[in-house]
């Protein structure tokens, strides 16, 4: 089926044409046949009338006697007797000159020229009265009114009846056609309804009508997004639980130690110092935990299916400068040489999210660059792109790890990562989400000038056009 609309339009028009034309044809044929009978009877009446001119008629009591074989069927004999036209002729003085067999002896209508209603022989009659202007003779002819009406109705009914009978047939066929037309919708609904709650595979239907294609596509896209979101949430919960377990275990051990000390009621100076040290470590542990939870929340907020976009135009250089000034203390603390170069570059984006992106990349660069090392940040306009580039003189990332570092909770070196470098393993995952949100491309390479890692984030310029 190509299209439900075309199918229903064409088949219903075809059905109406077939039903109405065929019923018209049937009505035409029946009416023609009835008209033929009427014309035949008219001829018969002419013959009878002419017969009255035959002098022999007078001898037969003013009535024409016809041979039986002229009127063939019994129905025609019946009709002929009913359709009979009766005649009377009077002279100018109102004396009956001649009459047909069935007419009364008295004048059947008033002596006034024109059409009249008359009543005789227990029936209503339609009479026509005319006076001969030459000698004043009156000629009267009459026909039963009920027979005239019934004959006219018979002819009309033959034309109308097929259409009346065709309507219920057409109704039944329309019901069936609409059923066939809507069948693809019922199939789609049945396929979706029959799904298990956990079955998020795309719906596969063959020969889907044009009207249902967008619905099938969007249903499949929705199912795909749901499947991805479920998968992501599942992994996220598992990763978060795993990452939170370690610091919580450490905190529990430290709390246990303090409780133990309090229980022993040790009052020695050194034990006080030890407890204070433990409390300080607990405080640091809680800080790390709070930071980790904050990062998890940022990550969740910047997920493509969570984020509510609130984009505005901004200068990426100004934003980078702002972030650098707020984080400069950490760079100074590690005695690193930092340079910020570039030009004004307008992009459209979410200020908070982009600030988080620059901040994460800057902190990462500072964290992984040795004390006294070099870091450079540049903002440039290149063709149709705005490019933000971080370079450092650190050890960099092996090429084989480039794709994996964006994974949540992934740490370079796995469980054997450098313990001196703190972090949650969520920074680059957040950076990637924010880049995707801004349709930006993010690339890792080896820095040609500084020898360490080079991170390039390219924002498309149509991003700017969109924000206008």
């Amino acid at each position: 089926m190509i299209s439900i609309r075309w199918f229903l339009t064409l088949t219903l028009i075809a059905l109406i044409v077939l039903v109405s034309f065929l019923s018209s044809l049937r009505g035409y044929r029946e009416s023609m046949s009835e008209a033929e009978i009427l014309f035949d009877l008219q001829l018969l009446e002419h013959v009878k009338l002419l017969g009255l001119l035959n002098p022999a008629s007078y001898l037969e009591g003013n009535a024409l006697v016809l041979d039986d074989n002229i009127v063939l069927t019994s129905a025609e004999v019946e009709l002929s007797s009913q359709l009979e036209v009766v005649y009377q002729i009077f002279d100018r003085d109102g004396r009956l000159v001649i009459r047909s067999e069935s007419s009364p002896v008295e004048n059947m209508a008033a002596f006034e020229s024109g059409y009249q209603q008359a009543e005789f022989n227990n029936y209503q009659w339609r009479a026509l009265v005319a006076q001969d202007p030459r000698d004043g003779h009156w000629v009267m002819a009459a026909q039963r009114s009920d027979v005239r009406y019934r004959l006219a109705e018979t002819v009309t009914l033959q034309a109308v009846l097929p259409s009346v009978l065709a309507v219920p047939i057409a109704g039944l066929l329309i019901w069936l056609i609409v059923g066939v037309g809507l069948r693809p919708i019922q199939i789609l609904a049945a396929v979706v309804r029959a799904r298990e709650t956990s079955d998020l595979r795309p719906v596969e239907l063959h020969d889907v009508p044009r009207e249902l294609t967008p619905l099938t596509q969007s249903t499949n896209e929705l199912l795909m997004r749901l499947a991805l979101a479920f998968d992501r949430e599942k992994r996220f919960a598992a990763d978060a639980a795993h990452e939170l377990r370690t610091p919580i275990s450490i905190l529990k051990v430290q709390l246990h130690n303090i409780l133990h000390d309090l229980h022993e009621k040790k009052t020695a100076r050194e034990d006080h110092d030890k407890s204070a040290e433990s409390l300080r470590e607990i405080g640091e542990g809680i800080d790390r935990l709070a930071k980790l939870i904050e990062q998890i929340l940022i990550l969740n907020r910047t997920s493509p299916d969570q984020y509510m976009q609130s984009f505005s135009r901004m200068d990426l250089l100004v934003l980078a400068r702002d972030v650098v000034s707020s984080e400069f203390e950490q760079i100074l603390a590690r005695d690193q040489v930092f340079s910020l170069t570039g030009e004004s570059a307008i992009i459209v984006g979410d200020v908070t999210a982009l600030r988080s992106l620059v901040q994460n990349l800057l902190i990462n660069a500072s964290k992984y660059t040795p004390v006294g090392g070099q870091i450079s940040l540049s903002v440039t306009n290149e063709q149709n792109l705005v490019v933000l580039r971080f370079e450092d003189s650190g050890p960099g990332i092996p090429e084989c790890e480039y794709s994996r570092v964006f994974d949540r909770f992934y740490r370079l070196g796995g469980d054997h990562h450098d313990p001196s470098v703190s972090g949650s393993g969520l920074g680059l995952a957040i950076v990637k989400h924010i880049a995707e949100m801004h349709e930006a491309d993010i690339q890792f390479s080896r820095s040609a000038s500084l020898g360490g890692l080079c991170v390039t984030v390219s924002f498309p310029l149509n991003n700017v056009e969109r924000g206008k």
């Binding site: 190509i2 028009i13 075809a14 059905l15 077939l18 035409y28």
Partner: protein, 268 residues
């Protein structure tokens, strides 16, 4: 009016049969329907040209012009149908969705060849028995009713074929197109016999007492399988040879479908 209805209905039904089977089968193969516009334009122009110049055409080739033009149209139509049918198994095997231009041309030629003859007959009838005879309204009304009934039946035939599903639609289409093509070639042979170019003296049988060609069933059989009440030996030979070719094609289509069962679905 009834005469106009019967004549136009007969011609339109013949044309619709060819067009609907082509439409449904080409849809099953993934073809687009734009060719219908080209066919309508060609058929209307060709039929008008043929009808207007009928007198001149008849006098050509020692008075055998009309028969020879009819033979040309019938042969073009049936050969195009045979070519189209022979391409169906090939198209089922290819993974490409696009239908080759040659197939579109074959479809257009097959449909236009069939339509030109039928439409020309309708034009001639409407002009000579209707407009020229002063019976414009009844003849045009009858022609409209006949055309309406014929086209409506065609719509149901088309959707009926699609309703069968792609596999059955193609099989039924090949059988119907095969019978139509064999009938067209048989008709062409008959025109050649009438033109005196083929002997055709020996009539194989005379079944006009059973089904006369002028009756409704005779007309339907003529449109569907090329029924002829008094076929000549030459006509029968051409008809049977065509049917043999159709039989081979049908077997190829069915075997291709069973071997590559999923091919049609992938193309869809």
């Amino acid at each position: 009016m009834i005469d106009a209805v019967v004549l136009v209905l007969r011609e339109v039904m013949e044309a619709m049969l060819v067009c609907c089977v082509l439409l449904a089968s080409s849809h099953a193969l993934g073809a687009r329907h734009f060719w219908l516009l080209a066919v309508t334009a060609c058929a209307l122009a060709g039929a008008l040209l043929y009808a207007v110049n009928l007198a001149e055409v008849t006098t050509l080739f020692d008075g055998r012009g009309q028969e020879l033009v009819n033979v040309l149209l019938l042969v073009v139509s049936s050969v195009s149908l045979f070519y189209y049918m022979s391409r169906i198994p090939v198209m089922l095997l290819t993974t490409s969705i696009a239908v080759p231009a040659a197939v579109y041309i074959a479809i257009i030629l097959a449909a236009a060849g069939a339509l030109i003859r039928e439409l020309a007959e309708i034009f001639v009838y409407v002009f000579s028995y209707g407009i020229a005879a002063g019976r414009t309204v009844p003849v045009l009304s009858g022609a409209a009713i006949g055309a309406g009934v014929g086209v409506s039946t065609g719509v149901f035939l088309y959707y009926g074929l699609l309703w069968l599903g792609k596999k059955r639609c193609l099989q039924v289409s090949v059988v119907v197109m095969g019978l139509i093509s064999a009938g067209l070639l048989s008709q062409a042979t008959r025109f050649l016999v009438q033109a005196g170019l083929v002997p055709g003296e020996h009539v194989v049988w005379d079944s006009s007492w059973l089904v006369a060609e002028s009756t409704l069933i005779g007309e339907l059989l003529h449109a569907l399988i090329g029924y002829d009440a008094t076929p000549s030996m030459e006509q029968m030979s051409v008809y049977l040879m065509s049917l043999f070719f159709v039989f081979i094609l049908l077997r190829r289509v069915i075997s291709t479908q069973s071997t590559y069962n999923n091919a049609i679905q992938q193309k869809a």
